[in-house]
Symmetry: C2
Subunit: 244 residues, 2 copies
Amino acid sequence: MKSVELSPLTRKLSAFVALSKDELAVLDRLHQRRRTFVAGRDMVHQGQSAHAAYILSAGWVCSYKLQANGTRQIVDFQVPGDFLGLRSVLLRTSDHSFEPIVEIEAAEVLASDLLNAFAQTPRLATAILWAASRDEAMVVEHLVGIGRRDAEARMAHFLLELGSRLALVGIGSREGFDCPLTQYHLADTLGLSAVHVNRVLRQLREQGLVTFRDDRVTFHDFGALVELAEFDPAYLDQTGPLLK
Amino acid sequence: MKSVELSPLTRKLSAFVALSKDELAVLDRLHQRRRTFVAGRDMVHQGQSAHAAYILSAGWVCSYKLQANGTRQIVDFQVPGDFLGLRSVLLRTSDHSFEPIVEIEAAEVLASDLLNAFAQTPRLATAILWAASRDEAMVVEHLVGIGRRDAEARMAHFLLELGSRLALVGIGSREGFDCPLTQYHLADTLGLSAVHVNRVLRQLREQGLVTFRDDRVTFHDFGALVELAEFDPAYLDQTGPLLK
DNA sequence: CGTTAGTTTGATGGTCCTCAAGCACTGTGG
DNA sequence: CCACAGTGCTTGAGGACCATCAAACTAACG
């Protein structure tokens, strides 16, 4: 923790691009409008337009789509340092909703501010594009999981990915992590019923692999879980700055 | 067709940003290294690093991931005007493979050229980010389909989306479109078995909704199909330039 | 102490997979 | 010209995986 005053996003981007003083200043200015949101009440709902984007600094959010038949599909989770609604701003109309899982803290970023920042600092734009690319890689991996993994591997993969993301920002490890999600969240994420989620969790627990209980995920046999899920964290890794 | 000499990508981006002469020149320079690829042989395979990105000008490509158990999941298709491998370049290692469905023509874009272009023309960078966002919106919709739609609705939705994309570049309509995909492609796209794909296609055909036969998709009852799939093309639309 | 949100378990059945086999079409070589 | 292989499409039978329905249980909370 060399630089405790940097925002999580700044830390994340700094791993990709060595940002200049000017660029850091522009990024800092994007963080000015700080807001908090209570758990459970959508920050943005699908179809809404002319809304802002946010940079999440504390708490968990999920982005999801609702269908006419009442089911919902959670597409992704955002944890501190993640952008939220970036695509919606560029497309001008949100194609999903964002729901805080717990009370969160976020910086509001107006579309105009974002576009100005991009115009002033192209390298910052590239860095943010990189972050967006990494997020998309996670969505792709999620897609593969739902399409081609059975429920057990899907669950294992999801928990491992989440653990890795949190470990990167220092709030998780190979031992486990604190997790505010319910089994309904898992069901809507993995394309399963809540009942089946419960059964799968029991199987994984009884095999001594992982426990999901009391707002905490505990890995009992990390290696075996990685093998079961065929988990390859390459798509999450950043091996060093691309731009100098 | 005012400007037949523009590349499909240029046409697509021009709908988003009114590009200056300089920006058009930079974009044009990205198209210099033209190449062709034969059908069926991967252009890029997963795990490969230090490869280029491509701008597709003719033909169809699919991007997919292979799993250790031998199954594959097609993530997306690229049609003329689409970028290909953009994310892989930024992350420096490809997380999927790209396979030409038919013989294709594409412009090779080196990572350095792309980054230089971004540095020279920030607005072009924003435009390309917009295109990437639209692609991601399609992946998200794909995810929702696999997670929360049954096989029939999933198939209907996929065919409608494909039709809409092709209609935007002038090679498809509400009547239908030419389609080089096999039922195996559909299976790997939709997370189904090829056998079940065949049965679903038969159902849709027997209900008088759509026919998939002889390299051609024919819509018989567009409205009913839209209703069955709960298809809402909002995520594909572009209602006008965001930047002036 | 009733209510609500979340978890757990059982029973039953449907969607979709797997295995298996046959058919149509195309291109290739004897 | 025809045998044959290869690719893709089609259909049937049986079964696995997971959804749905139902109900009991726990913990938190006013």
